[in-house]
Amino acid sequence: MLQNIAIGQYVPGQSFLHRADPRSKLLFIVLFATLVFLGNNTITHSILIGFTLFTILLSRLSFTYILKSLKPVWFLILFTVILHIFMTKGGTVYYQWGSFTIEEQGVRQAIFISIRLGLLILFSSLLTLTTSPMDLTEGLERLLRPFGRIGVPVHEIALMMSIALRFIPTLMEETDKIIKAQTARGADFTSGNLVRRAKNLIPIAIPLFISAFRRAEELALAMEARGYRGGVGRTRLNKLQFTWRDVAIAVVAAALTFVIWWWRT
């Protein structure tokens, strides 16, 4: 029942994108987001669309699969489009009905904004599709490490994330077991109205929470037994390694920045 839920929706693979260092990918996304909002005309937007298509090809993932990532935000995009079409004024009036108009600037903005949102979402889902959650956590930890000096608990955040990742499958399995056990006792999770169904979740949630707390307690003890004493003086198994791929990404980043800067108006 729960097996079909993809976690972090990571799709293992061997493509260029899969094998690039998560730190470069994270940094590149930050840059890309900036560039997307710097672009302000047809040329820059076309360049960005072209670049995104190229990146999708590079990931060797199926195109339709990636487009699916737009599904949950479809509504948001549509809403922004409608808002802009009706509210933004300026330029030629395309349509008029009483005091109500659709004007050139409105349509233009609507198209640009939806392209921007779409590209950002496509790009970040490319990141999660090609990077394992573990690598992502580790990449984040490394990038955020300098902030540790100004009091950000980087080590704790990273540890929390990785323990969460480690326990998601265990807890899923457990939820599955509890559902089966409760079903065997005659509980019904699939019929009735929303309130009823929500109520029916209580006999799943309570045992799950109790067991999660027990697990947490035992894990804390096991961590202590293995000499855990917080982040001070701790080293990390070094797994991330920059390669030629990351150099390539840096070069592409520089080129893309230059091109967008050049063509924007």
């Binding site: 265990t170 697990r215 004493r229 198994l237």
Partner: protein, 283 residues
């Protein structure tokens, strides 16, 4: 030469805070010593204080009264606590609740990271430890996909990487299927024999204690019996009074003797079978 003692308890007492704020005495003056390189089994009824004993050995708990020495170091010495925990590794009962890492090698690295081992050195130690428990093929696997026995072996690898002198298994086989139990016991025996690791195996299965160097029986916060497995298991009535099982072979012989047959004391099945066959032939 007298064997060197790795762990010594002298008159150790310990209490937990009970429900109504009163102190509940869990260990009532325990004296014991565990020789370096030995394989010691600890048996005892539920709540007899076995886990408490284990947690005192690596300073997860500190004694209320008395003294515990690990390689001559008092566990109350706050400065040595990390060194003690490195020396005394501990495997717990539930394999799912002691694996920290999202991959096998991440988990083995955990203890080393805590110790502040250099990342380059870490790599070698992880590979070495995984090899010693026979899990080298699973370095990148996710722990939840492993069998119970494999998970416990990963936990042992995490300890082995820290180069310990003692491994305490606190009912580490209790949640495993027979095959997993065998895997873990085989590994513990091999590490004891080949790498000289002292093993303290806390267990509910008297079978696991047969081949130990020593058996310690706990009852109600005290050491009830202690000695060579043959010595301890020959006192069947006393053990059964304490609510404890004896190995199958011992039980069979005990019952046959009660029926009037004459059989020598044996711990191993093959030997008992041989005696039984001989008995059949000579009748």
């Amino acid at each position: 030469m007298k064997p060197e003692n790795l762990l010594t308890f002298s008159d150790v007492t310990f209490s937990y805070d009970g429900e109504e704020g009163q102190r509940v005495k869990v260990l009532k003056g325990v004296d014991l010593s565990i020789a370096k390189g030995s394989f010691v089994s600890v048996l005892g009824h539920n709540g007899s204080g076995k886990s408490t004993l284990a947690k005192l050995m690596n300073a997860l708990l500190l004694p209320e009264g008395g003294k515990i020495l690990v390689s001559g170091v008092d566990t109350k010495d706050g400065e040595m606590i990390w060194e003690i925990r490195r020396h005394v590794g501990m495997v717990f009962q539930n394999p799912d609740n002691q694996i920290v890492g999202a991959t096998v090698e991440d988990d083995v690295a955990f203890g080393l990271e805590n110790m502040g081992v250099d990342p380059k050195e870490m790599r070698n130690r992880i590979d070495e430890a995984l090899l010693s428990v026979g899990m080298e093929k699973y370095a990148l696997a996710q722990p939840y996909r492993l069998s119970g026995g494999q998970k416990q072996r990963v936990a042992i690898a995490g300890i082995m990487a820290m180069r310990p002198s003692v491994i305490i298994l606190d009912e580490a086989t209790a949640m495993l299927d027979p095959q997993g139990r065998q895997e873990v016991m085989h590994l513990a025996r091999r590490l004891n024999r080949e790498e000289g690791i002292t093993v303290v195996n806390i267990t509910h299965f008297p079978e696991e204690a047969i081949d130990s160097d020593r058996v310690i029986v706990m009852e109600n916060g005290e050491v009830l019996m202690e000695g060579h497995p043959a010595e301890v298991f020959s006192q069947v009535d006393r053990l059964q009074q304490a609510g404890l099982d004896v190995p199958f072979v011992v039980r069979v012989r005990h019952e046959l003797i009660a029926k009037g047959y004459d059989l020598p004391f044996e711990l191993h099945q093959e030997e008992l079978v041989e005696h039984l066959c001989r008995l059949l032939l000579t009748r």
